[in-house]
Point group: C2
DNA sequence: CAGTATCCCAATCGATACTG
DNA sequence: CAGTATCGATTGGGATACTG
């Protein structure tokens, strides 16, 4: 039984803990407007080992940022998609992305990653 | 001699690395519109040991988010304040703060920390 | 006053191999 | 296909004591 004995919580730490994980921002990004299976995420984020990918997905799920759907079929199939909460956090990710891009450009660095705006 | 051999950088990771450190957001928050000395920051963030506070301040300085001014006097005096870059990142911190506050409130948790908006 | 220096424990993360 | 299990290297971070 969980009992949170801390009466007060820092909003900034709360948010950062939810999106600050090693591959969390990347996962949320890839799931924008899309439902993806575990194997598809693995191909999109090859630098993450299955262990890490599973761990990050579980934490995102615990924080209710994504939905995990298991289909009782063989071979197994599991779908991941953003929850409403996950959708609501996207503007923050975009603000962070925009600031980071400006910063990199101003420092003569090429800004690029698996995250790109399609619209 | 440092040589960054990666041609491309992820903007989101770049931003998160700059503000995601254990006490970095808190430090940036306290320095808003204020110049503070090391000892003042210690009193404002007592949970950070001097080692950790120094480390976080050094990293913020390396990322040019804050300015460190040493006065050649005895006893020593060192001032910390936001740089222009540090000021420019504040809207992101506020967006993160706002989202986190909404999230905590919707989950029946009391949102609070050393970070509060004065205006 | 503004830090350093040590020591040491805990959490993070990667590599690899294995399974229902 | 969608994960687990295990091991080990690296990093993070706290406690305490010391210094120019």
């Amino acid at each position: 039984m969980d009992c949170n004995c801390n009466a007060y919580h820092c909003p900034v730490d709360t948010t950062l803990n939810m999106i600050g994980g090693k591959y969390k921002a990347l996962i949320l990004w890839h799931l924008t407007d899309k439902t993806l299976r575990f194997g598809e995420l693995r191909k999109l984020i090859p630098q993450a080992t299955p262990k890490m990918l599973t761990q990050q997905l579980r934490e995102l799920e615990e924080n209710h940022l994504i939905n995990r759907t298991v289909f009782p079929v063989v071979p197994p199939r599991v779908d991941y998609c953003l929850s409403d909460l996950g959708i609501s956090i996207r503007p923050i990710l975009e603000a962070i992305y925009t600031w980071g891009t400006d910063y990199l450009n101003q420092n003569g660095l090429e800004a690029s990653c698996s995250m790109t705006f399609s619209s």
